[in-house]
Symmetry: C2
Subunit: 143 residues, 2 copies
């Protein structure tokens, strides 16, 4: 049987517990500030980056690593919350394009300072720039 080394196991356990703790931490910060959760931020940002023409749900899925039904429902909720708008367009009538509403743009802009504070504090405050680069490179090896 393949047996992972102690070092491998320790790295994995650290990865699991640290990422879990950090995600819970930022989610708490956002909730405490009455803001949308992290997943919403990512969607808002991707839509904003996409610009004028909006973006297709299936592109969002791919970029954000969500299953199709997950993105479908996330967009439902964000639509209900008035942060985005979906339009079917003539080209391919199966599909749609997603756009930010002004409220969506505003929400993204209100989230960023909280998120930035978290990142600067919890990540930037703990890792030097060199550390951060090393870590990113090691993580990429795992991807």
């Amino acid at each position: 049987m393949k047996t992972p080394s102690k070092e491998t196991q320790a790295a994995w356990r650290a990865l699991l517990s640290v990422s879990k703790s950090l995600v819970e931490s930022i989610e708490r910060d956002l909730k405490a500030a009455d803001l949308a959760p992290l997943a919403w931020y990512d969607v808002l940002l991707e839509i904003e980056k996409a610009g004028e023409d909006g973006i297709r749900p299936f592109e969002l899925q791919e970029r954000l690593l969500l299953p199709q039904y997950g993105m479908s429902r996330l967009l439902d909720r964000m639509d209900t919350a008035g942060l985005i708008r979906r339009e079917t367009f003539g080209d391919d009538r199966r599909g749609q394009s997603v756009f930010l509403t002004p409220e969506g743009k505003a929400m993204r802009e209100r989230i960023w300072p909280v998120y930035a504070g978290f990142l600067a504090d919890r990540i930037g405050g703990a890792l030097s720039e060199k550390d951060a680069i090393v870590m990113r490179d090691l993580l990429r090896k795992l991807a």
Copy 2:
């Protein structure tokens, strides 16, 4: 406003996406082999490590970073599945001690090869021992 560096942001994004992908990957492997999910394995292992006297739910919560209600319900499900057993004991009648059933022990032992294969392959195969140590140390700085 605190602004996180590019390096900080890249490390964070890598942490999020890699840990997410890896967790999904092992969960898929376990499901495909008709085994219990990762969280159950951790619980089974902690109980087994605790030995003869069993372990208290609140200790499991602390060690596995689960909220109280989360552990309560996880133990419900594992109990229903016949993998664990809960006993109230005379000392403190608010509390209980949790034990493995033989089926629980067997489940843990069936999960391990799959988990070990995943770790050896996806983590050990991608990171040298030195890499793994560096990564664990960097992650600990974030904890």
